[in-house]
Structure formats: structure tokens, C-alpha cells
Amino acid sequence: MAHSDDVQDPTRRDFLNTVTAVVGAAGVGVASWPLISSMNPTADVRLRSTTEVDLAKIKLGELKTVAWQGKPVFILRRTPEQVAAMQASPGGKDPQPDQQRVKQPEWLVVVGICTHLGCVPTHKDEGWVCPCHGSRYDMSGRILRGPAPRNLEVPPYKFLADNKLLIGEA
């Protein structure tokens, strides 16, 4: 007859071993969280996670490149003709209407990092050309030709006032 409080009971010992292992593993997991979390961006880096831009000085047709989170962001003030041309075009291999890519048709705001391997494209008359592998983007930052798979990314941004743009928060 087996008593459940028998010291020799092997199933009881297995249970204790399992419980010890599980509690120990959970403890190690919880204890390592502060260490893992410490590797995330620090408070000062997070503070710099938005960039404010003064739009008053940008003339019609002019491009301004600003740094946001260490990445270049292109701000292009488009002429009415350019806006009309972009709204008429469906884009290239990653089609998207121009209206979905801008908040105000005049202002195009895109992250200036080629979606292929992360180079910074150069501004040309028809849009942008990546110096690395020749991807071509239009005035809406949409990919037309070349190895890049996607359009230039649109960062979260909002207009604080007519002449003030905040990048990093929608």
C-alpha cells in the first residue's frame, strides 16, 4: 500500500523537481527582464524620436532633408503641376495613389532610405535615383524601376500649424 506522504514516493520527488525547475526558470526570466530592457533606446534617445521642421523657409519646388531618429527625411514642396502629374499617375511596381501618401498635396514627406539595401537616394528632376543600385522613385516617392521592392516609407507626421511640421507622431 502506497502512502502519498511516503518519503520514498518517486512521483512526489519528480513533482518537486519539476516545480523547482519551473519556478527557477520563471525567476531567471523575470530577473533578466531589466537587463534586456536596458538595451532598448534610452530616455534621451526617445526624447529625440521626433523632429520639428519649420516649413516657412522652403520655397516652391524645393527639397529639404532633415534628420529624424538618425535617418534622413525628404520634405519636398511640390508645384501644382507636379501634384497634378503625381495624382494622375498610379505609381510603378508598388502602385499607390498619391493622395494616400500625403496629408497636404503640396508637401511630400518620405524617409530618404532606399527600400532595397538602405542607401540614401539622390534628388533628380523626375524624383530620386539611388546611387547604389539605380532604383528610381517619382515625385511621390513611389518606386518606378530598379531592384527596390517598395515605395519610400512615409513616416508618421502631423502639421502643428501652417508652417510647422512634426515628424515622428501622427
Binding site: M39, N40, P41, T42, V45, Q69, G70, L117, V120, C132
Partner: protein, 412 residues
């Protein structure tokens, strides 16, 4: 042996018996060729990298504002700083050359086969650790290639399902490679060599348990083994002399050969260099990454291209000993693989045009087909070789193995 002090130690610590067992009486096959020197060279390179790295660390500053200038400071102002830095930068390439030859020898002579699977696998973990160490070290000079190389490679972790973007930010400690990334890479670059030392100890314990393989692939009789010391200590050091002549020639006459010109420009997050390529020792894997048009697919296939080596003890099903020595098919496959690696390295270093991509995809296909067809080809080859007739020593070895297997079967 040796005096009262050694006696005193021997009563408390197995000093003399350890030296006897692992060095002066450690049995080593007498037919080891120069290709068996490369494990020793790898150990030497590890020590040299840790030593030169330690002295660089006394002058280097892991801060995005100061790093580039502190490397120039080492090059210009520190006594012999140029020598220590060139030893370290050339040493990284020399380390990979040595390790790749060490691996090629293992593949060529079939040294990965039973009972040496654990040597092969610990070696593979060592290779991955070495790659991680080299990659993190490459960021430290904070030049354009350093920066953009780290940017492109950390970007690969975006392929992580669901939390890819968070993983990349966590790895970098910033939204793009920045000061936090540099500092943590420096900390890990300093730590990893110590982990590598521990792994090397495991690798060596396994080696001294199963003993060295040899070019014939046949387990030698006792009379064909000779003590490691002085025979192989002298052979290893002789080889090291030859190796150091070549290494010093590179350090003193072509130190910039292994340093990309673009890395003499300080890191600039807003401008990419016209062409980004990783260091030469990553090129074949970079070519495989780019051969797959999809990011996640590319990362998976590139990882597989390194991990697939672990399966070699099971993929190679031939019982014929000695790897390529007695096996013409296997030898041919080895050379095809070697040429394929050279082609992949070339493709990985070129700008990705359409025709280059095609060559890269073909070479990637060949790379994996060699592994996929090895089980079938190795069995076919063994049957063909047995029919054609084998050298007497090999026949005797196979017969004794068959007898052992039959005896084991009868017992059961």
C-alpha cells in the same frame, strides 16, 4: 621528475601527469601533413587578436563622437599604435583564412565523421562566434563602411516574424545605428573572445578524447602513433614560422589591403557610400542572401548555408575512410564546392546587376545541391569503389568493421 617543488605540486594537482597525458605522451598519427597545422595556427591567431585587442582597448574610445578620431590617434600618436592596429585588422582576415583552411581540411579528409561529430559541431559554434566577434569589431573604427555594414546587417533582423522592427531597435538601442550601438558592440566584442576560449577548451577536450584524424582516414595501430611532443610541437612551430612570414608580409607591406578605402571617411548616417560590401570573409554568405529576392527568405537561406555543415556527418553515408583520399567523386565534389565558394565571393563583392544576380542564384543552387545529393552519391560511390577494388589496408579496415557489426548483431 623535476625537483621538490614539482613534487609538492604533484601531490596536490595533476601537473606532471597532465603534461604527460596531453603533451609528451599524447599519441598522434605520424602521417599528419601540414594541413593539420591549422588548428594550432587558429589558436595562435586567437591569442594574437586578444593581445593586440587588449592594447588597442587602452587607447580606443567607444563613443560615436570620439571613436573615429581615437583610431587615428592610435595610428599617429600612440607608440607602435600603427603596428598594433595593423596586426589586429590584418589578424582578423588571417584568422578567417586559417579557420576556412582548417574547415576545408576537415571536409576534404572527412574528419567530421564518427566519432568526431562533436569536434565538428563545437567547431561550427566557434565559427559563428568568430563571425559575430569580427562583425562587431568592424563597427568600432566608425568609418563609412563600418556604419553602413552594421546598418545593413542589423536590418536583416527585420525579417523576425511579427516583432521584427522592435528587435532591430532593441539590437541597436536607437532607431538607427548610433552611439548606443557602438558602445554595446564594443562591450560584446571584448566579451566574445573569452567565450571563444571556453569553447576552444571544449573543442580540445573532445580532440584529446577521440584523438586526431589523419590523411589515410584509417585508425592507426599504436606503432604508427608518435608522441605529440617533441614531434608535433616542432612541426607546429615550424609551420607557424612559415605562416608568420606571410602574415608579417601582409602586416608590413600591404596593411591596407584588408581595409576598405571608404572606411577612412567618418560614419555619416545621411550619406551612403556608392557601394556597400561586407568584409571578404562574409562575401559568399552575402551573395547567398542577395540571391533570394525576398528579405525573410534570404535570411533563412543564408542561415541555412552555414548551419547545413552540421549535417555533414549524416549526409556523407560512405564507409570508405579518408574523405577524398580514396574517393574520386567526393574529391570532385569538394573542388566544385571550393570553386563555387570563390564564385559566390566574387558575386557578393559586385554591385547587384541582373546578370550578377543570375550567377549568384546559380551558384547558390550548386552550393545546396552538393549537400542534397551527397547521401545518394556517397552510397553509389562506395558501391562502385568496392566493385573496382580497394587498397588492402582499406579492405582490412572495412572487414574488421563488418566483423564487429556482425558480432554486435549476433550478441543481440
Amino acid at each position: 621528475m623535476g625537483g621538490p617543488i614539482v613534487d609538492w605540486i604533484d601531490r596536490r594537482f595533476p601537473l606532471t601527469s597532465f603534461i604527460k597525458h596531453e603533451l609528451t605522451e599524447y599519441p598522434t598519427p605520424r602521417n599528419l601533413s601540414i594541413w593539420w597545422n591549422f588548428g594550432f595556427f587558429a589558436g595562435f591567431m586567437l591569442v594574437l587578436q586578444m593581445l593586440s585587442g587588449l592594447f588597442l582597448a587602452m587607447h580606443y574610445k567607444p563613443d560615436a563622437q570620439l571613436a573615429f578620431a581615437s583610431v587615428e590617434h592610435i595610428m599617429r600618436d600612440v607608440n607602435y599604435g600603427w603596428l598594433i592596429r595593423y596586426l589586429h585588422s590584418t589578424g582578423a582576415s588571417a584568422f578567417f583564412i586559417v579557420i576556412y583552411i582548417h574547415m576545408a581540411r576537415t571536409l576534404y579528409y572527412g574528419s567530421f565523421r564518427a566519432p568526431r561529430e562533436l569536434m565538428w559541431w563545437t567547431g561550427q559554434i566557434l565559427l559563428l562566434s568568430l563571425m559575430a566577434t569580427a562583425f562587431m569589431g568592424y563597427l568600432l573604427p566608425w568609418g563609412q563602411m563600418s556604419f553602413w555594414g552594421a546598418q545593413v546587417i542589423t536590418n536583416l533582423f527585420r525579417a523576425t516574424p511579427f516583432i521584427g522592427d522592435q528587435v532591430v531597435v532593441w539590437l541597436r538601442g536607437d532607431f538607427s545605428v548610433g552611439d548606443a550601438t557602438l558602445t554595446r558592440f564594443y562591450a560584446l566584442h571584448f566579451l566574445f573572445p573569452f567565450l571563444i576560449c571556453g569553447l576552444v577548451a571544449i573543442h580540445l577536450v573532445a580532440l584529446h578524447f577521440v584523438k586526431s584524424s589523419n590523411p589515410s582516414g584509417i585508425d592507426l595501430a599504436d606503432k604508427d602513433n608518435i608522441p605529440f611532443h617533441p614531434y608535433f610541437t616542432s612541426k607546429d612551430f615550424y609551420g607557424l614560422g612559415l605562416f608568420l612570414i606571410l602574415f608579417c608580409a601582409a602586416v608590413f607591406f600591404r596593411p591596407e589591403f584588408f581595409i576598405e578605402a571608404a572606411n577612412n571617411i567618418p560614419a555619416n548616417p545621411l550619406q551612403t557610400p556608392p557601394h556597400i560590401a561586407p568584409s571578404w570573409y562574409f562575401l559568399p554568405f552575402y551573395a547567398i542572401l542577395r540571391a533570394i529576392p525576398d528579405l525573410l527568405g534570404g535570411v533563412v537561406v543564408m542561415t541555412l548555408s552555414i548551419l547545413v555543415f552540421a549535417l555533414m556527418p549524416y549526409l556523407d553515408r560512405s564507409k570508405i575512410p579518408g574523405g577524398s583520399r580514396y574517393r574520386p567523386f567526393y574529391r570532385a565534389m569538394f573542388y566544385v564546392f571550393a570553386v563555387d565558394i570563390v564564385v559566390l565571393s566574387y558575386v557578393g563583392g559586385q554591385p547587384p546587376t541582373d546578370s550578377m544576380a543570375l550567377v549568384g542564384q546559380a551558384a547558390t543552387l550548386i552550393y545546396f545541391s552538393l549537400f542534397v545529393f551527397l547521401p545518394y552519391l556517397s552510397v553509389k560511390e562506395e558501391a562502385w569503389l568496392r566493385k573496382r577494388g580497394l587498397p588492402p589496408a582499406v579492405v582490412a579496415m572495412l572487414a574488421s568493421e563488418d566483423a564487429q557489426r556482425a558480432a554486435a548483431g549476433a550478441q543481440r
